[in-house]
Symmetry: C2
Subunit: 444 residues, 2 copies
């Protein structure tokens, strides 16, 4: 479990009063639920939203934003971002992995940096908020601190991770979690990761220089859109992320026997499609049948021969299973395997499981969550604790440093879609929570 | 309803005794269940099976028999068949549709021909029995009658229909059931039906000359392998086919909403795959939930985007529904539509139905079924009445003439597969039933 080694207990008020010289206000005002504190800092929300709006044209196609890593649009997006960092009065630096960094110095040179950021690459046919919000908010936070001459004790590093949507590649390189062979994998742009790193200004011969180890960071914050509908449904403005769920992908091959759809009586069939359907329903029932936020999805199925008048011989489907508790992932794995045995026996088919991906939950650090919650309270924003069902660079950095994430609502819970949208006020709220959480954590 | 206009009531014994001059045997012997009658005729079963064995090399590939209509292997198969007809002492004739005919004259020139036959084309990766058995048995029956100098009153026409597996094309042309545009459809061989007809020696400019109308045939018999496992399971040697089931193909488009498989809570999904799975199970339950031989198959499904970590937005599946009763097909259609409405409402998805194929049941004629049953009894073969779940040329000819089919068991109920197999004794049994049924029906 990661923890924040540089944090000591001080009240939010003590710290912000000290560094920002705001006037003292009465305790009754400060602790009224939902009432913003007068000493809370604010970014320039209008500026942040105009940056997001300007960025919305890069990689825009008729079917959505296409700014996949290592594409021309990604390079254009990175140039835009480097320019924005310079406009913020900071100096951009590229690590050997191709991640973009920018530092605001702290007052205590013995302290490790607080890292804030996200990514700017997109999925195919995606939207403009997944990644850019957290990236530009991080730059805006550094810019606001600089403009207001608020000096933190810790150095503040802004980071723009490369190729998050291709599997958190930039952050994985930083925690040294990619193998040499992984570099040969082909990204959505058609380029290998190796070639992509060269293209964006990294240096594959010096990747070790980009590696951060436990103790190298004070902590990591990432602001992101929720990508689900929980906050909207609950009417909350801010999600304090408890962690990024663990994920297990199964490929399940169901083998039956092809036969004539007209001439084979119903009780003499070994129908792989019927078995797959029963299993899909059973997996859904199992996951919904107990309390909790676990999710399981059958998103992909390939049937053979996939012909109207032939009883399917084979169905290959995938299950995407996620939860914040590893024990629950193990328990559902066993449950799915038992369901497969039962359905196989009942339908005369056989089930074979293969694991495609296995990623353990990455829990947020309680002190970092507390800083986020303190910040949201100071801003008078409603909030709730919640897991992140989607993967983020924070799950990688959480392996080596204290970590926390801030969510703001996605309209309709939609993401990875051209319809992805987060309201300007929510974008500004997220950046403000990030700003005050950094300040709170810096105070320790 | 088709009926056999030329049949009058005479006993089987009176007729066969008259034409074949067999000695009279006691009634007690004749009517003992399962005891063969001494006056039953027999084909040369060894010859029939050696013809089937020789034919098994034509179009044989590593993945099965590939003798699809209008292919080089189909042409080779047709040349083999023309030669076999000549060896049987008959003269082959091609109609303008490319069907092969051969006649054994009858004694009464006022009578219309009894037609017997099947097809020799195969599916992709098929077997050697589906079609060839009925075709070569028909030639063997004519040959046996000729060799034994048994003169029928009716002319006996042998027919080898072209392109049965592509949708009973040869027999549809003969009942004038194809449109001009249908001729442009591309067959499995890659050739259009129009080009195929020319290739096999037909003449598309004279198709009307191939048309047979109600009254042109005394009746039609077709021997075929069962293609299911009913006979094998029941331990019966012969199936007396009650008719060819009606068939309705639906394409069902289920529309949900794509969203993130990790970030979208289970109760906020509109999962098209889950709806498709529930529907597939419900269709199966409905069809199995009442007595009868109706069958329904979901054989094909295409999911969009079909990605492990995206909740499916759309699923397009097919249902193949068959029964001997049109009313039951209508009833299940309404049932499926109701299930779709219920599942759509429960899963937040919408269902749209499209009918791809609609073919009414073709019932066998009771007098023709009786002739088949009388023949099986005379041969001491066990039998049962049963529907044909698969389509056959008999369903087309049944629209203009009295029709009946004889089934013999498929080992394991397998067909349309290189593993398709019917035992030599069952092949001979089928030909013998055909022979004695023709004789019985000729007697009228």
């Amino acid at each position: 479990m990661a923890y924040c080694s540089t944090m000591r207990r001080r009240t939010f008020l003590q710290h912000t009063a000290a560094v920002a010289s705001v006037p003292f206000v009465g305790l009754d005002r400060l602790f009224a639920p939902g009432a913003p504190r007068a000493d809370a800092l604010h970014v320039n929300g209008e500026r942040l939203n105009s940056v997001l709006a300007a960025f919305n044209g890069i990689g825009r196609t008729a079917s959505g934003i296409n700014r996949v890593a290592y594409s021309a649009a990604d390079l254009e997006g990175r140039a835009f971002t480097l320019n924005l960092i310079r406009q913020a009065g900071l100096t951009p630096r590229l690590d050997a992995a191709g991640n973009i960094f920018a530092r605001l110095d702290g007052t205590d040179t013995s302290l490790k940096p607080i890292l804030i950021g996200s990514h700017i690459d997109s999925v195919t046919d995606g939207g403009n908020y997944d990644g850019p919000l957290g990236s530009f908010a991080a730059i805006e936070v550094a810019r606001t601190l600089r403009e207001r001459q608020v000096r933190l004790r810790h150095p503040l590093d802004v980071v723009i991770w490369q190729n998050e949507e291709g599997g958190t590649i930039g952050s994985k390189l930083v925690i040294d979690a990619l193998t040499a062979a992984d570099l040969d994998k082909v990204a959505r742009s058609g380029r290998t990761i190796r070639d992509g790193i060269g293209l964006i200004g990294g240096d594959v011969s010096r990747l070790s220089s980009a590696v951060l180890r436990r103790g190298d960071l004070a902590c990591y914050f990432e602001l992101h859109i929720e990508q689900g509908g929980l906050l909207e449904k609950a009417g909350k403005q801010v999600g304090v992320v408890q962690g990024i769920v663990g994920l297990r992908w199964f490929e399940v091959t169901i083998t039956g026997f092809a036969n004539h759809a007209g001439a084979t009586p119903m009780d003499q069939r070994q129908d792989a499609m019927l078995a797959a359907a029963k299993f899909t329903v059973a997996v859904n029932d199992a996951v919904r049948g107990e309390p909790g936020r676990q999710v399981a999805t059958v998103g992909r199925i390939i049937v053979t021969p996939n012909t109207t008048n032939v009883i399917p011989a084979q169905a290959v489907l995938t299950i995407d299973l996620r939860d914040l508790e590893q024990a629950k992932i193990e328990r559902f794995t066993a449950r799915f395997e038992q369901l497969a045995r039962d359905i196989g026996a009942a339908t005369g088919t056989s089930f074979a499981f293969k694991r495609l991906v296995d990623s353990e939950p990455a829990l947020a650090t309680s002190s970092v969550m507390d800083a986020i919650q303190t910040s949201a309270d100071a801003l008078g924003l409603s909030h709730q604790r919640m897991p992140s069902g989607a993967g983020h660079d924070a799950q990688e950095i959480g392996r080596i440093a204290p970590m926390g994430m801030i969510f703001v609502p996605s309209v309709g819970g939609i993401s990875h879609s051209p319809r992805e949208f987060t309201r300007p006020a929510d974008c500004a709220n997220g950046a403000n929570v990030l700003l005050n959480a950094v300040v709170a954590l810096d105070a320790g």
